[in-house]
């Protein structure tokens, strides 16, 4: 089946098996390996991408379901060659260690801040509770999202 998606601003079309998972489509067919696979059961969230701006776990979405839609992956976070606030904040606040959950965490954080520019700590923890991390204990991931919120509000007021 033919699938056409807009991924990180570029249109891509491919002929795929109906059963191909969106994760495998992004990683294998499109060669964007920043999206990872961790559990196959929609539990760990490392495969999270934004589908029309909404976080979805791409291991339980078929590629054909993304036909005609827009996808953002970690590779699409940079804007005009500049790291986005969330990318800068994860570096600044030591929000990552092994890096495997990081792309998904940053995408969820990005979507959260779009919807709620000034989230409380509990709101952040709830938002990322569909995404597991084995390294950080979440402390610095929360701090990173808070720091990104602060950066973005400075951008707006500047």
């Amino acid at each position: 089946m033919n699938v056409t998606v807009n991924i990180n601003g570029a249109e891509r079309t491919a002929d795929v098996e109906p059963r191909l998972l969106l994760t495998d489509f992004i990683r294998g067919t499109l060669g964007l390996t920043g999206t990872h696979m961790g559990c196959d059961t929609t539990s760990c969230g490392v495969c999270t991408v934004l589908l029309d701006g909404v976080p979805v776990k791409s291991c339980t979405v078929f590629a054909v379901q993304a036909n005609g839609r827009s996808i953002t992956t970690v590779e699409g976070l940079k804007q005009n060659g500049q790291l986005s606030p969330i990318q800068q904040a994860f570096h600044q606040e030591h929000g990552l260690q092994c890096g495997f959950c990081t792309p998904a965490m940053m995408l969820v954080g990005t979507a959260l801040l779009e919807e709620n520019p000034n989230p409380s700590e509990d709101e952040i923890r709830w938002a990322i509770s569909g995404n597991l991390c084995r390294c950080t204990g979440y402390m610095n991931i929360v701090k990173s999202i808070q720091a990104a919120a602060a950066m973005k509000s400075e951008e707006v007021s500047a």
């Binding site: 098996e17 059963r19 191909l20 495998d24 990683r27 964007l32 390996t33 920043g34 999206t35 990872h36 696979m37 961790g38 559990c39 196959d40 059961t41 539990s43 760990c44 490392v46 992956t73 970690v74 590779e75 976070l77 940079k78 790291l83 990318q87 994860f90 570096h91 600044q92 030591h94 990552l96 260690q97 092994c98 890096g99 495997f100 959950c101 990081t102 792309p103 940053m106 952040i124 923890r125 709830w126 990322i128 509770s129 569909g130 995404n131 597991l132 991390c133 084995r134 390294c135 950080t136 204990g137 979440y138 402390m139 610095n140 991931i141 929360v142």
Partner: protein
Amino acid sequence: MTTTAEPHSLLTTPEVSGLGHSRKRVEDARFIEGRGNYVDDIVLPGMLYMAIHRSPLAHARILSIDTSEAAAMEGVIAVVTGELLAGYNLAWMPTLSGDTQAVLATDKVRFQGQEIAAVIATDRYIAQDAADKILVEYEELEPIVTPQRSLEQDAPLIRDDKEGQTNNQCYTWESGDKEGTDAAFAGADKIVSLDTFYPRSHPAPLETCGIVADVNSATGQATLYMTSQAPHAHRTVFALVAGLPEQNIRIVSPDIGGGFGNKVPVYPGYVVATAASLVIGKPVKWVETRTENLISTGFGRDYHMHGELAVTRDGKILGLRVDMLSDQGAFFSDAQPTKFRAGLFHIVTGSYDYPVAHVTTRGAYTNKAPGGVAYRCSFRVTEASYMIERLVQNAAYELGMDPAEFRMKNFIKKDQFPYLSPTGFVYDSGDYEGAMKLALEMVGYDEIQKEKEQARGEGRLVGIGLASFTEVVGAGHGDDYDILGLRMFDSAELRVHPTGKAILKLGVRSQGQGHETTFAQIVAEELGIPASDIKVVEGDTDNTPYGLGTYASRSTPVAGAATAVIARKLRDKAKKIAAHLLEASEDDLEWEVGKFSVKGDPESSVTIQDVAFAAYTDVGEGIEPGLEGVHYYDPPNMTYPFGTYAVVVDVDPGTGQWKVRRMVAVDDCGVRINPMVVEGQIHGGLTEGFAMSSMQHITFDEQGNCIGSNFLDYLIPTAWETPRFELGATVTPSPHHPIGAKGVGESATVGSPAAFVNAVIDALWPLGVHNIDMPVSADRVWAAMEEAKS
């Protein structure tokens, strides 16, 4: 962060970023852009995919294996069975504990999920489809799911493949002084005992295990991209197992998505993929599914422990007796030093000063997955720490003493170090009272004790739990610590280039710990070359010096020491070159970070960068050109990080649910290279300790079916459940480590489970609840309260 100790006095500027700077991590750049390179990201031309057919039964004789339907499927290149591997003498392989393990089962299956056959296909989906088409006929045997049943006389023999094996006992091992301990117990006022089970758990890094095996049939070169915490040791194992010439094996361990001990062993999948690539002549990729990861690769813990403490009426410990029975699964594959059959479990005497202890251990084969990996811990230290910290807490209650006071009374005192423990460890340094005092102050211990009383009057249950752990990390020395005969040293190769920039190559392998950032800081401290001018390379056996790898918190204690030593050796050589450049005698030169100058004439000086350039251009008479070297460090002793953790919980008397109100962690890991990275390691370790105490465990039903084969059943804490942590630090340098560092990656996992459980028990003790085994889930708490009532 709260600290009583002076932070490491900074000798370098932030631009140089030597020890003590919270330097931002250099590895972040690729990860935040999705440009990391994990094993599953590797795609080679012509690459094939492998999937494994696994046993649905825990214990059964294999009558036949029919691969015809699978082999006939379009896209299937080959089906590999144990029979085929036997032709290459690869049906069995050695484990890291000197046992043997089936690569692909031929005679019997011995645990659910055991590897039976593998399909190699052009596509991952086809490989999996075909693996499901393999038909195996079985004769079912009694599954053995507990070590107690395993050791009964009439239990069926699990390891009938082993010559001379007549029962299911896997090992016995003991440590300490039996007679002395018996005498101490005979003279005790009171004996406090505790039976506890530290359940089977799984490290479950978010990246599962995998390999891309690329054997070039023309050259014989085997390049194996593997999720490996120990690439050099794995290369040697491959040379021995597969009979490949070691110079032709290159193991590349690219970015690793977490390890925690899971990526220390060599797994059957690695061996089969390599054999398949060798036979087919094309690269073969195998990456586990999560279920495969949880049901077949290295578990942790599974220790049944009985402990007894002999004490005096006024609260002095006289001796300790511990008997432990471990459930090893079907193959004895603990990743641990050869001499020690139960790892370093004999560190179970803990942070306390008493003359005698006796530790007996037994291991049993069962029909469960093998493993026994050091899950974020130094070879069974977590189990040991849990045992003693639960026992001292209960002893204090039984004596009517405050648990903090009881610990203080029995601590090894600051001036007793180096301290020879009753089981033969030489603790290098410590200040246990200092860490305890800081933790009590931070948590507001006295106020919580008052609140507890008041809460009880109001029908609320509040508890405070402590754990004052001592860890032992950084194995060897090589005379005592080896794996399959390989001494547990580690290495560092440092090359300073003509322009003063450097490459540091290490035998260890980071899995998220941030070596690229922190090891450069050690060199920056010693040579004054800015850390940003130093590239750290790991994980490629062709391009790094031999080392035993990263696990058991050994990178900083061993490879970190090697790094400091080689940097100092190069500084010694640099001094000779500086003397030539300054036309002075070496004895007249003095070093301050980054430059040599003539004593009394500070204007006459050369920078390390000047010297590096001269090493290649104007080295001076009789001096060997270049500024490079390698050092292999065999540590004189291990290091002993310690700390005190304090947890405050509120327990719901109606439901048994408990919530962490405060979690204070005071760690002393000696000198901190990068405080930011250290704190990140502690956050992660505390979370895994919380996980084990509250939810994480792998269980089996009576048929040996693994309950906990995916993340819906094997619970891992999310940001929502995970407590907030408050960190404190004291700094007691290791006296024998070149920079005084001790290693910190696992302290928090080792120390914290007992603190969480002690907190719940503290709340429930007045109700008559004296123990709940982990995970201390709400239903277990509720059941314990109900039982105490009746």
